[in-house]
Amino acid sequence: MSFQYVLTEAFNNIRRNALVVLGAILAVFISLLLMFSTLVFGEIARVNTLQWSEDVRVIAFLRDQFRDTESLMDTVRSWAEVEEVFFVSKSQAVEEARILLASDEAALRVIEETPTILPASIRVRPVDLDEYDLIVQRLQASPGVSDIVTAGPQVDALASLRDGLRVVFWILSVALGIAAIALIANTIHMAIYARREEIEIMRLVGASNWFVRIPFFLEGMLEGLFGAALAVGVGVGVYRLALDRLTELPDFVVITIGNDFLVRWGVLTLAFGVLVGALGSSLSLAVHRYLRT
């Protein structure tokens, strides 16, 4: 009967203060929606700039017959304007392509059938991230290099947009998260106040502290969970909608992210909502005078 009692009490409390509870849930929802979209957008940006991570600005694809990679890398590394050189093998290139071309089934099939179709490459991080013309010229003259691509202005723009949005979104979602905790604490506060007589009697007759507190604690966690579920639902929904509508995107932009990413971060966002709720109710339970012994 205990668990049923606890759950019934929590739901009764939520019903009793429906409006205040709604406010708290909305705060959790907005906060976590921001967090979730930041994560999704960050993932999209990461996927799109996968090759250009680690501040790589120049990629030199190698001929299949070329064997002397080691000495080429030593040479490139010795250039004054080069900070770091990475080697990406044919098989690593396939791994990368699987993520980059996730939405292009035809291309994926080709890669899976003939994995050797993708060339190996070396990737260069310049000392000065905006100045790599000289590196390109020298690489063109190097043996074994078939083709060279450089990070265009789009990549730079996407990266800086991502960084900027990330900062703004995180600040907003943390601020709203704190507001959500405070609002949940407030709903719990009201629930405790509404039941102060009952609590007084429970304490008189010797109900254990957890028995008195658990329903309130659970109420906070439920509110957090509702808010988080809304956030994940709306977040995934909007993302799916965007996937359907945005068919006219330029070739180099990929907006498909893995389902496992959505599931993993969806579940974590739910857990985070429960955590926000738990924090809110513990805050309220800790300061409440009717529960103080």
């Binding site: 007589e197 429970m202 007759v205 010797g206």
Partner: protein, 300 residues
């Protein structure tokens, strides 16, 4: 059962509520705490139920060192103490039955225990017929009996009552006292703070008198005032003496208090009634008792 050693309680702001109290109450005793308002009766009750900690001194209650008890252990102490207050403290949105069952439910007792204990204790206080009613549908005396039923439903070792008749008229108070006496007969230690002279004088139990936080008297079979014949309670006291062979002798069973007929059916049903009932309660006695307390009769 209860032991206080050099107990002093000073509230924030320096108000000394009780000072250097030493008191030992044995199992099965019935003790009146008497004294004017502010003399420290309620503080003593609150200290015994560990609602407060003493500023100095030690308190043992039901085998536990209450004054040193960690906060999280208080619930366990409370389960061996029943508490009754002047203002009943019933939950208005619960029926009589639910109010009493509440005490068992929130301490995690199985439903089977609730189903057997609650009707039993409602019978004891004579409210079986009112189980489905709400507190607002009951008289003050009936509400207090519900509160006593709730305090007693888990068979506590100790019953602490702080002015249980404070809001009730004398006739109703008699009914309450009969129930407390009955509960005491089951071996439960009863400590009752009161300034109802007539009750104390009629019951002739142990009287612990407080005055401005000091224990000034501890007398077995005592009356409210130290004086032999308290002016207010004369009628009742005399009447009681007529009823009893030896003055000052602690009354054996549920005899001493006059009761209304209203109470009789419940009395007969009380499970504690192992000892023979004294059925006849002289009407004159009851009349004398009521007439001597016109002031308290106005308070409800």
């Amino acid at each position: 059962m209860i032991r206080l050693q050099n107990v002093t309680k000073v509230y924030d702001g320096g108000v000394v509520a009780v000072q250097d109290i030493g008191l030992e109450i044995n199992k099965g005793e019935f003790v009146f705490l008497v004294g004017p308002s502010g003399s420290g009766k309620s503080t003593l009750i609150r200290l015994m139920m560990r609602e407060e900690r003493p500023t100095e001194g030690d308190i043992w209650v039901a085998g536990k060192h209450a004054s040193k008890l960690a906060n999280w252990k208080i619930p366990h102490l409370r389960r061996s103490i029943g508490t009754v207050f002047q203002d009943f403290k019933l939950l208005p949105n619960k029926t009589v039955y639910e109010n009493v069952a509440f005490a068992l439910e929130v301490t995690g007792r199985p439903r089977s225990v609730v189903k057997t204990q609650v009707p039993q204790v409602l019978k004891l206080v004579g409210l079986s017929a009112n189980a489905a009613r709400y507190p607002r549908q009951l008289s003050g005396g009936e509400q207090q009996r519900v509160s006593i039923a709730r305090a007693f439903v888990n068979r506590p070792l100790i019953l602490l009552a702080d002015e249980p008749t404070g809001n009730l008229d004398p006739a109703t108070s008699v009914g309450i006292m009969r129930i407390l006496d009955r509960i005491n007969k089951t071996g439960t230690t009863v400590v009752m703070a009161t300034h109802d002279h007539a009750i104390v004088d009629a019951m002739r139990r142990r009287v612990v008198q407080l005055d401005r936080g000091n224990l000034v008297r501890d007398q077995r079979g005592g009356v409210y005032e130290r004086r032999a014949e308290p002016p207010i309670a004369t009628g009742a006291a005399e009447a009681m003496e007529d009823d009893r062979p030896e003055p000052g002798y602690a009354p054996p069973v549920s005899a001493p208090l006059p009761g209304s007929h209203h109470d009789d059916h419940s009395t007969a049903a009380m499970e504690a009634a192992e000892s023979p009932e004294v059925e006849e309660t002289p009407t004159e006695l009851f009349q004398a008792y009521v007439e001597d307390h016109p002031a308290e009769g106005d308070r409800t």
